[in-house]
């Protein structure tokens, strides 16, 4: 910032105009990292909301242009650290599709399993932080207790708890074992036994209900205008899921539902995510029951890729929605451009529309319920 530029713009107002700016973030307890909302307010009502992003920009796309395809692998988990596995494996799948690399059958299934575990993990974290935003601190800890199990399970196979770097072009780094299967099955049983508790403690609670019902409504029209995807879109009644619309990585084999709600409010988003966890459990169960033998590691470690020249687009369903990779290849081992179309970027853009006329507390509930991960938005 220059000295001449102030971080806070001056609000021009006539005498008697009671509007004022409230600067929420980038350091604020419930701005999920470094989101900044510049709110024009009158009293406790928000007249206009302008999200300001970019505080966590790490130039992933620029890095991609300076690296070989394989060297971009560790970056992918870090784009969205909460569903790093999905991003990491999604990137591998994109490159595999682009270059026609074969993946061992077992690796395909294991990828589905770890992806879904990662999705549950992400949803559990969202659940906790959402409640934290609403002022309920205890469910956060219960969720973390459950989430810890997943992290331990994934830690056992990948060696890392957050930024996995588990995928490789044409496979995975390590195979899963019996213990993994047992732990995953036990975890699913445990999670299912916890759902009634979560419902009674959180969903049925009248305070939670009051805070969420009819708050932050996204209509299907708003979703379409802003390109909102993921649970937020499904909570508005549109059953769009990349896993179903453009099946990838073997998802077409599994029987799962796409939970939808029609209300489009915070409560609907909450319910959609809770149902999605159950659906993820179902996918994991099916995948575990039908786990092929073989090796998961790539047949041959690809160090130098020779991708076909041209544009490629590959999308996966990340925990927060449609994660697309637009890859422009010039035939060399370095991508000419990678554009990461991250879901929260579009979801957050809709905030300025959704938050108009709501109260400060609703801002928090809505930002919490759309589940943003700022590093993913800022890339």
């Amino acid at each position: 910032m220059n000295a001449s530029q102030s971080i806070m713009p001056e609000l021009e107002r006539a005498p008697g105009d009671e509007r004022y700016y409230l600067n929420m973030g980038p350091q604020h307890p419930s701005m999920h990292g470094v989101l900044r909302l510049l709110l024009t307010m009158r009293g406790e009502r928000i007249i206009k909301c302008e999200p300001i992003i970019g505080y966590a920009h790490r130039a992933h796309e620029k890095m991609a242009e300076n690296r070989a395809y394989i060297q971009f692998l560790p970056n992918t988990s870090r784009v969205d650290y909460l569903s790093g596995m999905i991003y990491n494996i999604g990137y591998c799948q994109a490159i595999e599709k682009m270059c026609g690399i074969e993946v061992p059958e077992r690796a395909v299934v294991v990828r589905v399993i770890v992806n879904e575990l990662n999705r549950i993990q992400s949803h559990l974290l969202w659940f906790g932080t959402f409640l934290l935003d609403l002022g309920g601190i205890t469910p956060f800890l219960y969720c973390f207790d459950d989430r810890e199990e997943i992290l331990s399970i994934l830690d056992r196979v990948t060696g890392s708890r957050l930024t996995y770097s588990y995928g490789r072009f044409g496979g995975l780094t390590r195979d899963i074992d019996e213990t993994f299967t047992e732990q995953s099955t036990a975890f699913i049983a445990r999670l299912r036994s916890r759902f009634p508790m979560y419902t009674a403690l959180v969903h049925d609670n009248i305070i939670f209900m009051e805070r969420c019902k009819g708050v932050g409504v996204m209509t299907p029209e708003v979703c379409a205008q802003y390109g909102v995807t993921g649970p937020c879109l499904r909570a508005s009644g549109v059953g769009y899921d990349v896993r179903r619309a453009e099946p990838y990585g073997g998802y077409e084999r599994y029987d799962f539902e796409i939970p939808t709600r029609t209300a489009g409010d915070c409560l609907a988003r909450f319910e959609v995510r809770m149902d999605e966890m159950e659906q993820s459990c179902r996918i994991i169960e099916q995948a575990l029951a039908d786990l092929p033998d073989g090796d998961v590691r790539p047949k041959k470690l690809v160090k130098k890729l020779k991708p076909p020249v041209g544009e490629h687009y590959f999308a996966v369903e990340a925990a927060r929605g449609h994660f697309g990779m637009y890859i422009l290849s010039d035939g060399s081992d370095t991508p000419a451009k990678i554009k990461l179309r991250t879901p929260s970027f579009s979801n957050l853009a809709a905030m300025e529309r959704v938050l108009e006329g709501t109260m400060v507390a609703d801002t928090i509930a809505t930002t919490g319920s759309i589940d943003i991960v700022l590093p993913e938005i800022d890339r």
């Binding site: 692998l73 196979v157 990948t158 390590r174 508790m197 403690l201 049925d204 009248i206 470690l301």
Partner: protein
């Protein structure tokens, strides 16, 4: 009436919530009281890389091929190698790794042709600055002289074996040539290794200029 029933049912949900937290209250804490109790690290645990100490040579086997340096996305590995008199292979005399840059992706371990890199299990160290460098050779410097001796012996043995093998192959080839001249080019593993092709991670089919596996 609905006013009262809403109040009552709402109040009841609150009571339910309190019952749940009351039920959780006597449960045992899940906290791991670090540092009083240490976490159990998984086998796959990834920390800073270190060099493997092979049983046979009682030392690492870094040949300074620079594969890891080239693939590292974070440019955090520095390796220098030298040729030692009387030993065929190169020997690394400087292997350093800046852990402040490392992103623990494991690509270096995947590409290592001699499988001499592995993850360490260090988890309780912290760097206070940029340039948090590990000298991976630190624990190997002591036995360097002894290693040279051992390596010479191993290489001599290896050369002898190779010679024997080559003879066997040549004989087999000669025998085959008399039968099927067309299939002449098929079995020649030594050439493939010499071409410096990237080695796949399974240790079974490594390039030929690698020493035998520790167990062999």
């Amino acid at each position: 009436m609905s006013y009262l029933s809403t109040i009552f049912s709402g109040f009841w949900t609150l009571v339910t919530g309190m019952k749940i937290t009351a039920r959780e209250m006597p449960r045992k804490a899940v906290t791991l009281t670090y540092p009083h109790k240490k976490p159990e690290l998984s086998d796959a645990y990834r920390s800073a890389i270190q060099l493997v100490r092979f049983e046979e040579t009682d030392s690492h086997d870094c040949v300074a091929c620079m594969q890891c340096v080239k693939i590292c996305p974070s440019f955090c590995i520095t390796i220098e190698g030298e040729k030692i008199e009387g030993i065929k292979r190169q020997r690394a005399n400087r292997v350093e790794m800046d852990f402040a840059l490392c992103s623990l992706c494991g690509l270096c371990i995947d590409v290592c042709p001699t499988d001499t890199l592995e993850y360490s299990k260090i988890y309780d160290e912290a760097g206070g600055n940029r340039g948090w460098t590990y000298d991976l050779l630190a624990e190997f410097r002591e036995g360097e002289e002894a290693w040279i001796e051992r390596m010479r012996a191993i290489e001599a043995k290896e050369a002898a074996e190779k010679e024997a093998k080559r003879k066997a192959i040549a004989e087999a080839k000669a025998a085959a040539a008399t039968k099927k001249p067309a299939e002449e080019a098929a079995p020649k593993p030594p050439d493939e290794g010499a071409a410096g092709k990237p080695a796949p991670p399974p240790a079974s089919d490594l390039p030929e200029d690698k020493p035998e596996e520790p167990e062999s």
